[in-house]
């Protein structure tokens, strides 16, 4: 039987990566595991599952060596009867085998490839369309990320089906889903969630669902209320630099917070010129885009952001929200595009020197989506703030004060400032990524997925900081898939749709 708690220590050489003394999940329950990116959620789950590299890492589980843990009957039972869905579908699939072959490998061989779960995950679309995907060799962009993700989930469901059909009492079946909805839009996410909970209702099993998507909470509270007593919401949070603790996450508190979130009250529209006014239609990379004001995406409208306004752009994944942000920032050149940004008229012909001298960091700044790529990982935290166009050079105290807006004050030591960005967790990198732009005094701030990789506390801190910036007069343009949160914070008048 699975122990109530695991005590796990993971080190790489002399460097402690993560330590958790109380990693315990709900037995025969659906466990949702939240926590900021890079805190160690996946590592701890993989440690329990016996999936970590013994040569690269120094691991101890419940005081025993990792070799012993991996050879333990229980660990092997968990592996045999459960399934681990990896975060990145591309790394899970073998590029040299057709998806069809991979869906019938090993313990899945006795199951039909195209079964009800696959059909459900593909929204009962035509079998022919699914067969086409099954015949593909997985490549980086083919099938799409979402399709690969659903195929991977289909594999897990085949294993769950085997578990459901088995007459044997198998109480050690643990199914781990590491960010299973990262590449899925809300519709497919909901389909997957319904299917998972439906299977669970037939015969309970232990599921660990690692996610950053807090909107799952509302979904379960509204659509699967009957299963609430079988669902655990847990959050992994940092106690010290390497010690993390797993505690219950209050879904009620989240829902209350969401319910209490209101769009800011704007004063009467001023006669001042808008900070940004961009044309509604544009073309780039052979595709045409239209910015609309209505959800049906039928009425083109200029993208207009007034001083101190927070505007939200919505579109499905891959439609071109980031492309639009890059066009506004002059990084991409759309055909026949014109806009006015803080009194500066800019078109597709405006030379780079104008952007560099007058706009970037002075009139507008942008936070990129992936902190790992957007930050220089080879420099220190202090150096990240050097070179920014600020009124005065920041000293250590200034940097600490800036960081304190999104980091715990106690962690802000001189040694922390000297730490390389590469050694920060994903959530810490994201907060640093945001701060680098938010510290600037620009009229317009564009944020591409600002809540990526943050825990609930981080989300609240970032939203608080954005509100402060807005009140101080900065205009904010948001791009995010966290529709639930931003729908509650931004009034309908200030939501645009990209078609």
């Amino acid at each position: 039987m699975i122990p109530e708690r695991y005590c796990i220590t993971i080190k790489s050489g002399n460097r402690s990566i993560v330590k958790c003394d109380d990693f315990g999940v709900g037995w025969e329950k659906i466990n949702f595991l939240f926590g900021e990116s890079g805190i160690g959620k996946s590592l701890l789950c993989k440690a329990v599952y016996g999936l970590l590299d013994r040569d690269e890492l120094d691991i101890a589980v419940n005081g025993e060596t990792y070799e012993k843990h991996c050879s333990d009957t229980l660990t092997n039972d968990i592996k045999r009867s459960g399934f681990f869905v990896f975060q990145e579908p591309s790394s899970h699939f073998n590029p040299l085998l057709r998806i069809r072959e991979q869906l019938s490998e090993g313990s899945l061989s006795r199951r039909q490839v195209l079964d009800d779960s696959v059909r459900r995950l593909f929204e009962n679309s035509d079998d022919k369309a699914i067969q086409k995907i099954l015949d593909l060799y997985p490549k980086p962009f083919r099938p799409s990320g979402g399709e690969k993700q659903r195929m991977l989930l289909a594999m897990a469901f085949k294993k769950i089906d085997s578990f459901l059909e088995s007459k044997k009492e198998d109480r050690n079946a643990v199914f781990v889903f590491d960010e299973p909805t990262g590449s899925l839009d809300n519709n497919y996410r909901n389909l997957f969630l319904s299917l998972l909970l439906e299977k669970y209702a037939q015969k309970p099993f232990t599921a660990l669902f690692i996610t950053h998507d807090y909107s799952i909470i509302s979904r379960i509270h509204t659509h699967h209320k009957n299963l609430l007593s079988h669902v655990c919401f847990k959050e992994l949070s940092r106690k010290t630099d390497t010690l993390v603790e797993l505690h219950d996450f209050s879904s009620v508190e989240y829902l209350k917070w969401l319910d209490a979130s209101r769009p800011p009250r704007y004063e009467q529209p001023s006669r001042q010129k808008p900070v940004l006014s961009a044309q509604a239609n544009f073309s780039i990379f052979g595709r045409s885009y239209t910015i609309c004001k209505d959800e049906a995406r039928t009425i083109p409208a200029r993208l207009t952001i007034g001083k101190g306004e927070m505007v939200y752009i919505k579109a499905a994944s891959g439609v071109g929200k980031t492309t639009l942000a890059k066009i506004i920032m002059g990084l991409y050149r759309a055909q026949r595009f014109s806009m006015t940004l803080s009194g500066i008229d800019a078109t597709h012909e405006t030379p780079n020197s104008v952007w560099a001298k007058r706009i970037w960091g002075k009139k507008a700044g942008m936070v990129f989506q992936h902190a790992d790529e957007a930050l220089d990982l080879a420099i220190t935290i202090r150096e990240t703030f050097q070179g920014l166009p600020l009124a005065h050079k920041l000293n250590s105290d200034d940097i600490k004060n800036a960081l304190a807006q999104l980091f715990d004050r106690e962690s802000l030591t001189d040694a922390f400032l000297k730490r390389k960005v590469a050694y920060l967790s994903g959530g810490q990198k994201q907060r640093l990524n945001l701060l680098r732009t938010l510290i600037l005094n620009t009229d317009l701030i564009i944020l591409d997925e600002p809540l990526n990789g943050l825990d609930f506390l981080g989300v609240k801190r970032v939203l608080g900081m954005l509100e402060e910036k807005r009140r101080a007069g900065s205009s904010i343009l948001l791009i995010s898939h966290n529709e639930e949160i931003f729908d509650s914070l931004i009034d309908r008048e200030r939501i645009y749709y990209l078609a």
């Binding site: 990084l331 560099a356 960091g361 930050l375 220089d376 080879a378 680098r436």
Partner: protein, 282 residues
């Protein structure tokens, strides 16, 4: 931490220790005039090689920045012209280019335009650097190109960080110095090899302007020296007269030392560069 377990450190140590042992042996058994020549040849060769590294780094860096700013500023003509000039240099075989440079330096010395030793060294280094620096420029250019494709570059630019800081500090210094240093080790090897080759070619009398009299003593022209040639021939003699072998270490030290220092130094530089690349997973 540097440790002898690292291949690059181990080979640097081997090179130093072996060179020191040879120095002690030569001090004990090589005649004074020859010893003076070998010492001068060794130091001159490596001083020039180090100067070549400096010149290559400087020219490579300037070329990279030049191309980058011309491209970013959309100065198409300037960019094409500079690129054409670089390709012109690239089209000249390094040995030929350096040989011509040496002839020019030899003429300057003969006409009394250059007097001091350092000026001659600097000119020779410049000649070599001119035909090597593109290797460094290519390395830097590739690094900049790689980072420009990532969000890293644009994310910093839109925060108002100056382009020169991103290129020089973030890309070249913080994220590429290991690659650049590795390239510099290779440049050192190229410089020693080309120097020895060109000096050897000159010493067989291809030019009246550039010859062993006008140019400083290096390992290359020492190897072409009559005494050294005889010493090398003595090695062949041992194949038919094996009992003559011990004499090599007492009577033919000049040629043997010079030949060994060239070959062994090149081998060590090769292994240091490989070890460094392995250690930093380049």
């Amino acid at each position: 931490m540097l440790s002898l377990r690292n291949k690059d450190v181990r080979w640097a140590f081997i090179w130093l220790v072996t060179t020191a042992i040879i120095a002690v042996w030569d001090i004990l058994f090589l005649n004074k005039p020859a010893l003076k020549l070998v010492v001068a040849g060794f130091f001159n060769t490596f001083i020039i090689a180090f100067l070549v590294i400096f010149v290559t780094l400087l020219m490579g860096w300037m070329a990279t920045l030049g191309l980058h700013y011309l491209q970013e500023g959309k100065h198409k003509t300037g960019y094409l012209l500079l690129n054409f000039f670089f390709n012109l240099i690239r089209s000249v075989p390094q040995v030929i280019g350096i040989l011509l440079g040496y002839v020019a330096v030899g003429m300057c010395i003969q006409q009394g335009l250059v007097h001091s030793g350092f000026a001659i060294f600097a000119l020779l280094s410049f000649c070599m650097g001119l035909f090597i620096f593109l290797e460094m420029a290519d390395c830097m250019w590739e690094r900049i190109d790689h980072y420009q494709k990532l969000d890293f570059y644009n994310a910093m630019r839109v925060c108002g960080v100056s382009q020169s800081r991103i290129i020089n500090f973030n890309i070249l210094w913080k994220n590429s110095r290991i690659h650049i240093f590795n390239k510099l080790i290779s440049v050192m090897g190229i410089a020693v090899f080309l120097q020895c080759s060109v000096d050897f070619i000159i010493s067989v009398g291809l030019s009246t302007q550039a010859n062993q009299v006008t140019l400083p003593t290096t390992l290359g022209n020492l190897l072409a020296n009559l005494d050294s040639k005889q010493d090398i021939l003595a090695v062949g003699n041992t194949l038919t007269h094996p009992l003559y072998f011990p004499h090599l270490f007492f009577e033919h030290l000049q040629g043997l030392t010079v030949a060994f220092l060239i070959v062994f130094s090149l081998l060590c530089i090769h292994n240091i560069a490989n070890g460094y690349a392995e250690r930093h997973r380049l």
